[in-house]
Structure formats: structure tokens, C-alpha cells
């Protein structure tokens, strides 16, 4: 590779390297397909048709909200019936014209004519609009079979894609935020580089403690109230709390400027690296799955909480990589230039150093997503933490384990988990090779 080339950019080089790896490229396209499936899940697998004409009324049931209720009048304007979208069985209605979704079942809806593990190619029954039980028309066949209570497996898999992507996104989002910040601070400052007057150091610690008191201790009831309202309100309240902590810490730091004493103003170094490294060591020395299971046992069952816990326990790898990268970068010329220009440490770290440290971090995030998905599916396989009414790949696989005759409940969800994890691992591995030419053997 010609480095003297005017147009040379590392991104282009890395992308070119990545593209050379055909398997990884295919994985990337598969990931894109998964994202599309997840985004459009309600229009791929849904009880309600995309488009229907009922007694002369044109309806778009799949696009309407769940709770929508319509009064239906026939062509002469006489009232016929009230349709509540989510509980109406659209298959039973006499629709003059209809476009179904590719899989005409919702993940949670139970088809009572195909209970008790209807096999994909076995006999399946159907009740038509005249109320007769017939052999299932191919349009409504459960192509991947059903579970014990008649839920369609294909639909469960499609909607499970959403959960698995969300798990990766949310948990690794949290983990990256924690990991990158802590890793960057530890790597950049090390144990000796962050110096401040003794009084400032003490007041910062004290201010942080006070911040925790006012942000979380004092706001305890506000927070729990907000979380009981919903996860969105809870998150907003949480952000306010974090803001309070930061604000009060800052206030105390500013206060320290007012105090002038010889001994108190002596510079001491803050062992940033020791703090972070000990934290990483501690978290690494606890079996992660067990920690997560133990925490989920004492908190409410919710898929969001599971994601958050996976994120909070999963930042150590990212922090380690960021730290190592910062240890290397901090002695490079451009960082020293930024420092000698008098930029603040925060600006140097996040604006100048961080963009150059992200490449290896990206790799560990990609590996992290794979393991987050693995953990979530393991948890829902055990039925721990994730509520029973949420259909995930892991919970489907668990149904298969309990009834080994329903092989489709084992093979398909298992393959879905396996393929997704492989995709992420492949992308991670290929981008590591592409981003770090030194590692290429």
C-alpha cells in the first residue's frame, strides 16, 4: 500500500481490507437483512392483514395501533359491528379483498386449531370464514410449525430478531459508554499524569459523594416513582440524577479555587489507572452469568432491566482495550501538540485522542454484542429475568427442549441464535484484521 498517496485514508484502507474477506462481507449483508427484518417485523409477521376490504370499507389493519376500534357500516350505511383490531380474528371475516403479511400470525397469538406442536409439514387445521374446520390453506400454513399453545414459530422468530438486536444495541451501548470513558481516563492519565491540588482532589471526592447523596439518595422516591411510570420516564429521571451528581461535583471543584493554603494546594496525583484497573479486576473475577442471574433474581422481570444489567456488567473488555489504546496514543505527537496548545484534558481526550483509539474498541464492542446476545438467549432459555409473555429465540428453544419431539422448536431458534452470534463474531474478527494490520499474519 502506497502511503504517500495523496488520497490515502485509513478508513478506505480498512474497508478495502475488510472487503477482501468474503465471509465477513456476507456476514455484513446478513446483519443488514436482520436489521431490516427487525424494523419491519410487524409487517412481515402479523395477525392482521396489510390491506383488507370488508363490506365495502377499505382498512389497513397492520398499520393501525393495537387498540384501534372501528364501527363498521355496510354499503347501505347500516351499522354492522364494532371491530377492535387486536382481538378480531381477521381470518374469520368475510373479506372481499385482502393482502396478508408474508406470515399471517402474530408472535403471541394462539391458533387453537393447531395446538400441541403442529409440525411444519404435518397435518394442520384451519377454520374458514364459514366456520368449517378444513385442511389448512397453504397461505395460512404454519410453515415452521407451532408450539404447545398454537403460537406460530416463524412469527416468533421474526419478532425475536427485534429483541436480539435490541439486546445488542442497548446493552453494548451502555457498556461502551462506561467502558470508553473509564478506559480513556485510565489510559490517558495513568497513575501519575492527573495532578491537582490536594484540596481540589479531596473536594472532588467529597463533591461526588454529595452529588450521589442529592442525586440518588435525596431523589430516591422521585426515581422509583418515575420508573414505575415507565422505562422512558425512569430514564429521564435517571439522567437528571446523573446531571445533579455531575453538577454538584463541579460546584465543589470550583469551590476549591477559593481556598488558598500552602499545604492544601500542593499538587498530588490521582491514581486513576489503579481505580479503573481494580474495578475491572473485581468485575472480571465474578462469574458474569451468575452475577446477572443473581441480580435478575432480586429485581423486577423485564427485558429492559436484563439489557441494562448485561450492559453494566459487560464494560470491562471495552475499557481494557480503550485503556491500552490510550496508553499508546498519549505519547504520540498529535496528543502532545494538543496539550502544548493548552487544550483542556477533556478536549484532548475526547476530541483528539478518542477518534484515533476507537478502531480496536469497535472490535471489542462487536464481540461484546455477540456475547450479550448469547447471555440474553441463555437467560430466556432458562426463563430467568425475561418475562414469560415475551417471545425470544431463547424461550422458543426452551420450549423445544421441554418437548424433544418438536424438533422444529430446537433447530430453527437455535440456528437463529447461532447464525446471529456467528455474524457478529465474523464481523468482529474481520474488522480486527482489517483495522490492525499488525495482527494480520
Amino acid at each position: 500500500m502506497q502511503n504517500t498517496n495523496e488520497n490515502f485514508s485509513f478508513k478506505k484502507y480498512a474497508w478495502a481490507q475488510f472487503k477482501k474477506n468474503k465471509i465477513a462481507l456476507v456476514s455484513l449483508y446478513l446483519l443488514l437483512a436482520l436489521v431490516i427484518i427487525a424494523l419491519f417485523a410487524p409487517y412481515i409477521a402479523n395477525d392482521r392483514p396489510l390491506y383488507a376490504v370488508y363490506e365495502g370499507n377499505t382498512l389497513y389493519p397492520a398499520f393501525a395501533s393495537d387498540t384501534r376500534t372501528d364501527s363498521i357500516y355496510n354499503a347501505e350505511g347500516n351499522f354492522l359491528q364494532v371491530l377492535q383490531y387486536d382481538i378480531t380474528d381477521w381470518r374469520q371475516l368475510d373479506l372481499t379483498s385482502v393482502v396478508w403479511t408474508p406470515i399471517p400470525y402474530s408472535p403471541g397469538s394462539m391458533d387453537r386449531y393447531n395446538r400441541d406442536y403442529a409440525a411444519p409439514s404435518g397435518k394442520q387445521r384451519f377454520k374458514n370464514s364459514e366456520g368449517k374446520i378444513i385442511d389448512i390453506p397453504s397461505k395460512f400454513r404454519h410453515k415452521l410449525g407451532t408450539d404447545g399453545i398454537g403460537r406460530d414459530l416463524a412469527s416468533g422468530l421474526i419478532h425475536g430478531t427485534r429483541i436480539s438486536l435490541m439486546v445488542g444495541l442497548v446493552s453494548m451501548g451502555i457498556a461502551s459508554l462506561i467502558g470508553i470513558i473509564l478506559g480513556a481516563l485510565a489510559g490517558f492519565f495513568g497513575d501519575t499524569k492527573l495532578k491537582m491540588p490536594r484540596i481540589k482532589y479531596w473536594l472532588t471526592l467529597f463533591g461526588f459523594f454529595m452529588g450521589l447523596f442529592y442525586g440518588f439518595g435525596q431523589r430516591k422516591y422521585i426515581l422509583s416513582e418515575a420508573f414505575s411510570e415507565g422505562i422512558g420516564d425512569g430514564m429521564i429521571a435517571m439522567l437528571i440524577s446523573v446531571g445533579v451528581v455531575i453538577g454538584i461535583t463541579m460546584l465543589f471543584r470550583m469551590l476549591s479555587k477559593a481556598i488558598q493554603f500552602e499545604w492544601l494546594n500542593k499538587e498530588v496525583s490521582v491514581p486513576m489507572d489503579t481505580f479503573v484497573s481494580r474495578g475491572i479486576e473485581l468485575l472480571n473475577s465474578i462469574p458474569r452469568l451468575l452475577l446477572i442471574i443473581t441480580i435478575t433474581a432480586v429485581v423486577e422481570r423485564s427485558i429492559w432491566i436484563v439489557m441494562i444489567i448485561i450492559g453494566i456488567t459487560g464494560w470491562t473488555g471495552i475499557a481494557r482495550f480503550t485503556r491500552a489504546e490510550f496508553l499508546r496514543i498519549r505519547s504520540l505527537e498529535f496528543v502532545q501538540a494538543a496539550e502544548s496548545l493548552g487544550y483542556s484534558s477533556i478536549r484532548t481526550i475526547f476530541k483528539h485522542a478518542l477518534p484515533n483509539a476507537l478502531a480496536p474498541v469497535f472490535v471489542s464492542i462487536a464481540f461484546g454484542i455477540a456475547s450479550a446476545i448469547l447471555i440474553e438467549s441463555g437467560l430466556s432459555f432458562l426463563g430467568i429475568g425475561v418475562p414469560d409473555d415475551i417471545v425470544t429465540w431463547g424461550s422458543l428453544l426452551n420450549l423445544g427442549r421441554q418437548n424433544l419431539e418438536a424438533w422444529w422448536l430446537i433447530i430453527y431458534p437455535g440456528m437463529a441464535i447461532f447464525i446471529t452470534i456467528t455474524i457478529y463474531n465474523m464481523i468482529a474478527e474481520a474488522s480486527r484484521d482489517a483495522l490492525d494490520p499488525r495482527l494480520k499474519s
Partner: protein, 492 residues
């Protein structure tokens, strides 16, 4: 070396304290009231009145035994308004409610007055005797009296547990309504009036500013954490002496149930880690030796794919294929022994022979979950070593390739594999939960799983603490081992 070991062991201690703190924090945040659980497990029967008297006594005993009448930690950081004697309140929900009320009003005296007036009201309510009322007034039926009294009691109960500003007036209104409609409840009028008075007092005498002032109170060694960890020298021996508390399910001490299970899980994971090493080291050596050959590339891809395969999927597939009457029924589906034939007096060999078919599938799964990972590490380590100068020297002086690899390269390439032992160990412990549940192996994993289903928190916390300890010991051993085999470490 010696210095390094000392240093390493010294860092081990704060980690242990941290783990114990973590498990303690999780355990005190467990939902539900342990006293209720345990007194239910004790199973007291009898008539309602007898029961309330007897169960109250039992509950008090349990509370004392668990140390719940003690403060939680050596010190507590609260605000100025909070009471430092709140831990003496018995009922967990009352306690939480009082805390919330104190937070609202900032005046602990007013809150405790309110609380005691509520308790007075409850007492007065309990003295209402439906039979006596009916005997005095023949117009009333026993049912209406009971119903009204019960409703009133219910309102008192919910007042004791709520601090919601919109709900409390509603409760008062309801109680007022009951009093107006039922003359026979008139005995409760005065206490109810007191409750309302003290409720208003909460706001008149509110000192909200106090909730903004932090305060630290010190309790000394008589606290729940100390008791949990060190015991009290009498009935509680403490975690450090192997007393893990009482299971909620059957009120049995946990340590009597757990050790055997730890043994089962531990031996399974050790066997499988050993097997994983046995398989993966040759594979790693071979791939590195034939680096970039078709065999190496193929093997790498296969290992990579296997590495992405969740162990619970593999386990279910194995069951589907080999323990399923529809396919091949080679192995039993679950358990580690057949209770109808198994005889505990058998010799070790007989036991092993009997258990073998039960254990093959689990061991394959266990081994599988670490072997792909290990092989990849081994290969990378080997490639790294083979490109070193001293290997070139060995080749240059005319040593055969086999001798170069097996004698010179292997020893050094094993170093990373040793450290990985520390990483595999927690993986084996964590992963064992899923695998044990799938194959119904009566080890620690199944124990955790069952206790989660039954909300048996002491058991969950015990397993968590134990595996944390064991993992840390694993790390310690790995680190020390590493220092032994790699002399460069000690000079750091």
C-alpha cells in the same frame, strides 16, 4: 517470586471483601419479607387467633435469629431527618413506609407519633368484638358487623403501608364513611381522630430542610453485615466459618445441602476443562505447525463456527439426537444416576460405571464450550512463539522440526493457555447453570435455578458468594502458576 506471591495474596483480600459486600447488598435488596417466608416454611397451623399469637412469637424469634432487629451496616449515610432507630421497626413494609413518610415530612418525631397513633387505632380495632356487638343489638347480623369491621381493618392495614398523598385522604374518607354508617364502630372514633390529627401534624411541623442535610450514623459491630460475615459467637457462626444461613424453602441450614452439590459441579467442570486442554493443545499445535495450509484454514473456520455455537443449543441438539426415542436412544435424558438401581454402597468403580452413560453428554457439552476457545488461543500463542528468534536459532543449529516444536516452542506457548485457565474457570461455573439445568444434574447450577424459581434468596446469595470466592481462588492459582513458569513475572 515470594514477594510477588505475597503481593498477589494481599490484593486478594480486598477483592474478597468487595465480593462479600456485593452479595450482601444484593441480598438485602431481595424483595419480600424473609420473616414471612420463614414463618410460612415453619408451617404453623391452628385457628386464626391462635395462629396470630403463636406466629407473632415465631416471627419475633426468626427476626432475632436472622439479625433483622439490627442495623444493616457498620454505618449508614442518611439525611438529618431520618431516624437512626428505624431498624427496630419490625415489619419490612412498615419500615419502608415510615422511611418514605420521613422523607416527605422531614420530622421523625411527627412520623413516629403518626405511626403509633395508627398502631393504637389498629389495637382498638382488634378489640372490636363482633359477637358482643351482635349480642347487644339484635337488629344487627353477624355478617354485616364482620364485613364492616374487616373493611375498616383493611383500611388501617393499607394506611400502615402507604405514603401516597392522594391515597391517604381517600382512605380517611372511606373510614369516615364506615363510621357514619355503622354506629357500633364508634369506639374507633377517638383513635381515628388522633390519627388524622397526627397526620396533619406531619405537615404543620414539617422540617423538610432536614432531608437535604446528610448525616452519618455509626452503629458499631452489632449489625447485619457483621453478623452475616462473622457470626455472633452463639447460634450464628458466620459466613467465614461456613454458616450460610437458612433456606427459605425448608428452613434447613444451607451448608448442609450445598457442599455435595459444589462437589458435583466442580468435578464436572474440572474433568471437562482437563479434557478441553487435552484436545485443544494438539489441535492448536498442529494448526500452528501447518500454518496457512488448507487443514489449518479449514480447522480455524470450523473452530470459529463452533465457538459461536451456544452451549445450550449444542446440549439440546445432543439430547435431540442421542437421547430421544425417535432418533437414537443411547443415553438417558437426565440425572446422573438411576435411582431404582443405584446403590450408595457400591464401590467407586461401580458408581463410576453406572454414572458413565449419564455423564457423557454433559461432559461433551461442558468440554465443547471451552475447547473451541482454548484451541484458538493455543494456535495464536504457538504462532507467536514460532516466529521468535530463539526458534530460528534452534532451526539454524539443525534441530528437527518436531523437536523444535515440541521441545522449544511448546513450553513457551503454554503460558497464555495457563492464564486462560483463570478465564475458563468462571465460564465453567456460570455456564454450568444452563448445562446442569438441561441435563438435570443435581449440582450448584440446578440449585441456583430452583432457588430462583422459588425465590430462595439465601441460597442464591450463597452460591453467588461461593462461586465468587472459588473463582478468585482460581485466579490466584493461575497467577501464581504463571509466575512459577514464567520467571520474567517476578521482576515486575
Amino acid at each position: 517470586m515470594f514477594k510477588y506471591a505475597i503481593k498477589r495474596i494481599l490484593t486478594f483480600i480486598p477483592m474478597l471483601i468487595a465480593i462479600s459486600l456485593l452479595s450482601f447488598v444484593i441480598s438485602i435488596n431481595a424483595p419480600g419479607d424473609p420473616v414471612e417466608r420463614l414463618s410460612k416454611a415453619a408451617g404453623n397451623e391452628g385457628s386464626a387467633e391462635q395462629q396470630s399469637g403463636a406466629s407473632k412469637k415465631i416471627k419475633q424469634e426468626i427476626r432475632k435469629k436472622l439479625g433483622l432487629d439490627l442495623p444493616i451496616f457498620y454505618l449508614s449515610i442518611t439525611d438529618l431527618a431520618a431516624s437512626d432507630t428505624l431498624y427496630k421497626v419490625q415489619d419490612k413494609y412498615h419500615k419502608a413506609n415510615l422511611e418514605a413518610l420521613t422523607h416527605q415530612s422531614g420530622n421523625w418525631e411527627a412520623v413516629s407519633e403518626y405511626y403509633s397513633s395508627l398502631l393504637d387505632l389498629q389495637k382498638a380495632h382488634q378489640q372490636v368484638d363482633a359477637k358482643e356487638i351482635v349480642a347487644n343489638d339484635s337488629l344487627l347480623s353477624l355478617n354485616t358487623v364482620n364485613e364492616a369491621a374487616n373493611q375498616f381493618g383493611f383500611e388501617i392495614g393499607s394506611l400502615l403501608e402507604t405514603s401516597d398523598k392522594t391515597i391517604i385522604p381517600l382512605k380517611f374518607d372511606k373510614m369516615n364513611g364506615l363510621l357514619e354508617n355503622h354506629v357500633f364502630l364508634s369506639d374507633l372514633k377517638v383513635p381515628l381522630f388522633n390519627v388524622k390529627q397526627s397526620r396533619e401534624n406531619l405537615f404543620i411541623n414539617a422540617t423538610r430542610w432536614k432531608t437535604y442535610v446528610p448525616a452519618i450514623s455509626w452503629y458499631g459491630r452489632k449489625n447485619q453485615y457483621h453478623l452475616w460475615l462473622f457470626g455472633n459467637g452463639k447460634d450464628r457462626k458466620g459466613l467465614l466459618r461456613g454458616d450460610f444461613g437458612i433456606s427459605y424453602i425448608d428452613s434447613q441450614p444451607i451448608q448442609s445441602k450445598i457442599w455435595q452439590k459444589v462437589g458435583i459441579s466442580f468435578s464436572l467442570s474440572l474433568i471437562s476443562i482437563f479434557l478441553a486442554y487435552l484436545i485443544s493443545i494438539p489441535i492448536g499445535i498442529y494448526s500452528a505447525y501447518k500454518k496457512d495450509s488448507v487443514a489449518d484454514k479449514g480447522m480455524s473456520l470450523v473452530l470459529f463456527v463452533l465457538y459461536s455455537m451456544p452451549s445450550f443449543f449444542v446440549a439440546t441438539l445432543l439430547l435431540l439426537q442421542f437421547a430421544n426415542p425417535d432418533n437414537l436412544s443411547w443415553f438417558p435424558v437426565s440425572g446422573i444416576q438411576d435411582p431404582t438401581i443405584f446403590d450408595p454402597n457400591w464401590s467407586l468403580w461401580m458408581k463410576l460405571k453406572h454414572r458413565m452413560p449419564f455423564l457423557i453428554l454433559p461432559i461433551i457439552t461442558y468440554t465443547y464450550s471451552s475447547f473451541a476457545f482454548l484451541s484458538r488461543i493455543m494456535r495464536v500463542g504457538m504462532i507467536d512463539v514460532v516466529s521468535q528468534d530463539y526458534i530460528r536459532t534452534a532451526r539454524a543449529k539443525g534441530l528437527g522440526e518436531g523437536k523444535v516444536i515440541l521441545k522449544h516452542a511448546l513450553r513457551n506457548s503454554l503460558l497464555p493457555v495457563i492464564t486462560v485457565f483463570a478465564a475458563i474457570f468462571p465460564m465453567a461455573i456460570g455456564g454450568s447453570i444452563i448445562i446442569e439445568v438441561i441435563f438435570s444434574i443435581p449440582g450448584m447450577g440446578v440449585e441456583v435455578f430452583n432457588s430462583i424459581l422459588n425465590y430462595d434468596y439465601p441460597m442464591i446469595i450463597t452460591v453467588f458468594t461461593l462461586s465468587g470466592f472459588l473463582t478468585m481462588v482460581g485466579y490466584l492459582v493461575a497467577d501464581l502458576l504463571y509466575a512459577v513458569v514464567d520467571p520474567r513475572i517476578s521482576y515486575k
